[in-house]
Amino acid sequence: MHEERCNISYDILEISLEKIEALLKGDYGISKRAIGLLLLQGDEKVASLVESREGESYGGIKEVLKEARAHYHEPLSYIIALRRQEEVNRIVGGALVHQPKSDLPFRERISRIMINPITGLPILLLILYYGLYKFVGEFGAGTVVDFIETDIFEKNINPWITRIFSAIVPWELLKGLFVGEYGVITLGIRYAVALILPIVTTFFIAFAIIEDTGYLPRLALLIDRVFKKIGLTGRAVIPMVLGLGCDTMATMVTRTLPTKRERIIATILLALAIPCSAQLGVILSLLEGNFWGLLVWGGAVALVFLLIGFLSSMILPGDAPSFYMEIPPIRMPKLSNVLVKTYTRVQWYFTEVFPMFILASVLIWLGQLSGLFSMMVKLLEHPIRWMGLPNEASVAFLFGFFRRDYGAAGLYDIKKAGLLSGNQLVIACVVLTLFLPCIAQFLMNVKERGWKTGAAISAFILFFSFSVGLVVNLMFNVLGVRL
């Protein structure tokens, strides 16, 4: 009886298809049967295409579709999928023999260890410690930055460039644009090449290795329950981790999230609470050796991440999303893959970001020239003082408007000069982590989310990050914390 029913249903699909094929007059570049199948499966784009091309006869086609749908309980797309599966099983069944293995393969055993929460969490911490802290933080932001910054720029390039410009550019003003305190070369290019490039590159190497092993989907399934609480699913872990490299790039990647609600929440969290690798690197080196400071910073940022995520999932309308993800087999990362991925990302980053550094330097130079810069620094000094920070920090915060990491790098200089206490350093790091996204990310927010949402997110973050700074300072004072 089952056989018989199958044959009848098969016929109804086939008959409907034949009818549709006969009614289709236009040329679609693919077979009429394929168009018919897409129509039966309810493809809206194809439906509107056919409607526009067929005109009159579309009514007849719609009639056939309606009849075919009325024959089945389930959606036709499901019926067709079943039919395909039967066909696949028929073909594969005659050609393949499965020999069940008694033992789990080695890679499968590693996978099971990774997805088990008891063993998976320590593995995550190990990856964060070695991949992020040791490799990006200590090696990238420490060793490599020191070498390029001190040995290459400060000892060789800067004096040499300054000499050349002093010789050929007579006007003090114009000289300032290139080799002054905030000069395009001495500041802009130095920051971009000596500070940011090594950090971002090491991060992208680490990310590409992790990505290539197939670890990320496993992390996604581990973290799904937590992310559900903030209106996201485990799927969002990929833009979030990528955001630890570059928030701008990650904001673009939020396109992979299925609903608008998830995309908005992810954009807010990336802009607010996910520090990019450049910030992370500078912050890790700022707080180096200050274990408790690092802990307070991490705790404050994590708390903001969860709190704001939770609140926005409460406020934003829409249904809770559902999570599904393919778990690919664990693989040994391939060197060529890692190199190509790192190269394309660093290249994207540099073409996107490098002009921004130059622009920022020029804007600061212009601002200084016109007095606007010092006015804004003065203006910023008030909230800065309320947070218990020295006036010098306001310069770093103003830089932060242009790029968050630029601001963080500015703090680096202040710390070197010994102007910041432990408490102040932690507050500054927290605020700069939460602070307004860099210009590139602001533009990306606007591009991906539209003017209103993009601008609203930025205004909220500006206000919110300073408020958190005030609260942390207040708590330090009330609790008598000295870090």
């Binding site: 389930e74 959606p75 797309s77 499901y78 999928a81 079943l82 599966q85 099983n89 996978s111 099971r112 997805i115 088990n116 929460p117 989907p217 996604a220 399934l221 581990l222 973290i223 799904d224 329950r225 559900k228 699913t233 485990g234 559902s322 999570f323 599904y324 993800m325 393919e326 778990i327 690919p328 087999p329």
Partner: protein, 212 residues
Amino acid sequence: MELSDMAEEILETMWVHTVEEEKGHMELSVARGEPAIDELLKADYIKLAGEKLAFTEKGRGEGRAIVRRHRLAERLFTDILDIKKNLVHPVSCRFEHLLHEGIEENICILLGHPRTCPHGRAIPEGECCRKSREVIDKIISPLDKLKANQKGRVAYIHTKDPKRLQKLMAMGVLPGMTITLIQRFPSYVFQIGQSQFAVDKDLAEAIFIRLA
């Protein structure tokens, strides 16, 4: 205490009126002065609310049981004894009073735990129906109720949300496919064909598995 046939009829009518059709308490009007009303009041099956009849907790249960017996009797007559449809109601009206627990359960099992009477009304579920369902549940179970490493074939997909169906189809979760649950927490991870997928509870409970 055995109730009179008339009292059982009243309880049955009341149950259909107040519980099944949700029309509220029943008017006393027709049954006024009927000795069976006194009988029911004394036995604490009903109470008077002004001019209306209301169930006590005990009476509501008894009413349900009577309706169940009546409809089972109807099924018995049509399905097994093949009595003409227009005769079913009057005959079973008398028969239902004879059907008491024990026999009722046997008939329910004999009929295969029917869900509806010949007129299409629902037959209230008995203990035996619940037990039989549990046995079926042991054969077919949603994916989220499986233990880790349990294996079976997809029996059907049950979801009202077409998007969910779409997602499951995209993963190749279709009736007949062999599926193994690998892990339950923090997400449901399963193997289907040569692929592994992770889903949340919402999706997992839409997949029904015939256990191997």
